[in-house]
């Protein structure tokens, strides 16, 4: 019989003995990337166990989604993974399109891909800056944000907002690309290539950086699959699984791009995977801009969006596999909208990754997972 008050369960970490100490990391902490609390059991500086405690940013997204029509839920989707808002909206919109049998015109698909890959670059830039900052390389943070500013300007011209766009709609996108969009993006990408060389010279191959990230936070391929990892965490462990390649959606199957895979599943591998993903995203954007057809930016969704049936739609976000399980029962509001967050799943790996590491390594490990608490807690 389910109990109405929560008295189940054992305490999160076993009772400490002798030299062991419980240390709290977070929820207010500059390196936990949001309101994440990690309970560390340490013996001196060495971590014996780490358990994440989450829920500080829980905003009842799934409950609210049961009380809103589909179009009104899209802004809430933005705010889950707020650093990659387009890929947060996309699975939801895709799920609704499946349930409503709405066709998305080709031009809209191309626009979605371009914007999503630009979003991937923006998210990885922020990850790069924050990751380097956590390890002590302060200037990298400023460089990354300088590039990101240019991207946010492009997003603002396109969608009206810098970060939380409310741009995707059931059946397409809210508005077409503005005149000069392609020039802006090409100029940005050309500039980014030079800047990426700069970033590589700054960090990759830097002996101090390498000693802080090589061999830290190792995840084996079997562990990664068993723990449901996805995105750079899974690919850093050597598993070449990318939703865009394995189960292609939208028009991704028309583009040539690679899936970078890391050598050894440590923090350094995940870093290398994300750095390479910059180049792959640039390839996709350039191909998409070259091939984008003329046409409508919006399909023909029904006037009353009555959802019937259930579906699970997945998208490759910068953090991993984002999924939305949408259940309709004939009404305009979803009956159930579940958001599968990759970072929620990756937090389970904190314990296995941190065993035997130092507290300073914990910072590198958390940074390498690229956590956004908005997505974890919803």
């Amino acid at each position: 019989m389910a109990q109405t008050s929560d008295t189940l369960g054992s305490p999160p970490l076993s009772v400490p003995v002798e030299h062991e100490l419980f240390i709290n990391m977070g929820p207010q902490h500059p390196s936990t990337h949001g309101v994440l609390r990690v309970l560390l059991k340490v013996d001196g500086e060495v971590i014996l166990d780490a358990k994440p405690d989450i829920g500080y940013l829980h905003r009842c997204f799934e409950k609210i989604a049961e009380r809103r029509p589909v179009t009104q839920i899209i802004p809430y989707c933005d705010r889950t993974d707020y650093l990659a808002a387009i890929t947060s909206e996309w699975p939801f919109v895709m799920a609704a399109e499946r349930l409503l049998n709405v066709e998305v015109p080709e031009r809209a698909e191309y626009i979605r891909v371009i914007v999503a890959e630009l979003q991937r670059i923006a998210s990885h830039l922020l990850w790069f800056g924050a990751f380097a900052l956590d390890l002590g390389a302060t200037s990298a943070f400023l460089y990354a944000f300088r590039e990101r500013e240019k991207l946010l300007d492009i997003f603002q011209k396109l969608t009206g907002a810098r970060m939380l766009y409310n741009y995707l709609r059931v059946g397409g996108v809210r508005n077409d690309l503005y005149d000069g969009f392609a020039d802006d993006v090409h100029r940005f990408l050309d500039d980014l290539e030079d800047k990426l060389d700069e970033y590589h010279r700054l960090l990759t191959g830097n002996r101090i950086f390498e000693s802080r990230v090589k061999g830290i936070g190792v995840v084996t391929a079997e562990q990664a699959i068993a723990y449901g990892a996805s995105g750079p965490v899974l690919r850093g462990a050597g598993v070449p699984y990318d939703v865009r390649k394995a189960h292609p959606y939208s028009v991704y199957d028309r583009f040539e791009f690679g899936v970078p895979v890391g050598p050894s599943g440590d923090v350094y591998s995940r870093y290398l995977v994300r750095m390479q993903e910059f180049y792959e995203s640039m390839k996709i954007i350039r191909q998409a801009l070259d091939g984008i057809p003329e046409g409508e930016f919006m399909g023909k969704p029904p006037r009353r969006m009555r959802l019937e049936g259930d579906t699970y739609a997945r998208v490759e976000s910068p953090r991993g596999e984002v999924g939305v399980y949408l259940v309709g029962n004939g009404g305009e509001n979803p009956w159930r909208c579940h958001y599968r967050s990759p970072c929620f799943v990756h937090l389970q790996l904190l314990g296995p990754m941190a065993k035997g590491a130092l507290i300073a390594d914990m910072v590198a490990i958390i940074g390498s997972i690229d956590i956004v608490m908005g997505e974890v807690d919803r």
């Binding site: 389910a2 008050s5 929560d6």
Partner: protein, 188 residues
């Protein structure tokens, strides 16, 4: 293009749900050889769907993971839906990662119906460790108890929270917080 993630099939009638695409035929046959009584159907979005009774869990899931020809080693999502009088439906979405190309197309959704007055089912943490947090979340927000879970406690809400908010019949009984309005307002 049956393997596209976003395939929609507007023409699919109810009876067509029993027709399985050729890449999934071996999986269907293998599943039926182990569990002949489990109803299987194709969902419109390209996922195979199995509905099982909770007594089959966790043996069903262990077979899904270990058996040759099935090898569903990746649990993508575990969630629950509240269907009011019909109870809760726990939904698992399983994939098969692996180097051989034929594994990529295996997408299976498993649904377990549990009654509302006894919402419990077996945990699958020992099959897929990733289920740990998912089951905790379902317990926290829906109140479904997963037997065999090593550490079943709330994950998103405070540990002293009462009730399971994602249920359709959840009522927030917390008393309203007193609002204090200062008599000397800060604007002056």
């Amino acid at each position: 293009m049956a393997e596209r993630e976003d395939a929609t099939r507007p023409e699919q009638a109810e009876s067509a749900a029993e027709v399985f695409p050729p890449e999934l035929q071996p999986v269907v046959e293998r599943l039926r050889s182990y569990f002949p009584d489990v109803p299987l159907r194709m969902r419109a979005d390209g996922w195979l769907e199995a509905t099982i009774d909770r007594s089959l869990s966790p043996r069903f899931f262990e077979t899904l993971k270990e058996a040759r020809g099935l090898e569903f080693d990746y649990l993508s999502d575990l969630t629950a839906v509240d269907f009011e009088e019909k109870g809760f439906q726990v939904v698992y979405h399983l994939l098969s990662l692996g180097p051989r190309a034929d594994r990529v197309q295996r997408k299976l959704a498993v649904k377990i119906q549990v009654p509302r007055d006894d919402p419990r089912t077996a945990s699958v943490v020992h099959v897929w460790p990733t289920a740990n947090f998912h089951e905790r979340e379902v317990y926290d927000l829906m109140g479904v108890v997963f037997e065999g879970h090593p550490d079943l406690r709330r994950i998103l809400l405070r540990e002293d929270w009462v009730g399971h908010p994602l249920r359709k019949d959840y009522v927030d009984w917390r008393p309203p917080r007193p609002r204090v309005v200062s008599r000397t307002s800060a604007g002056r």
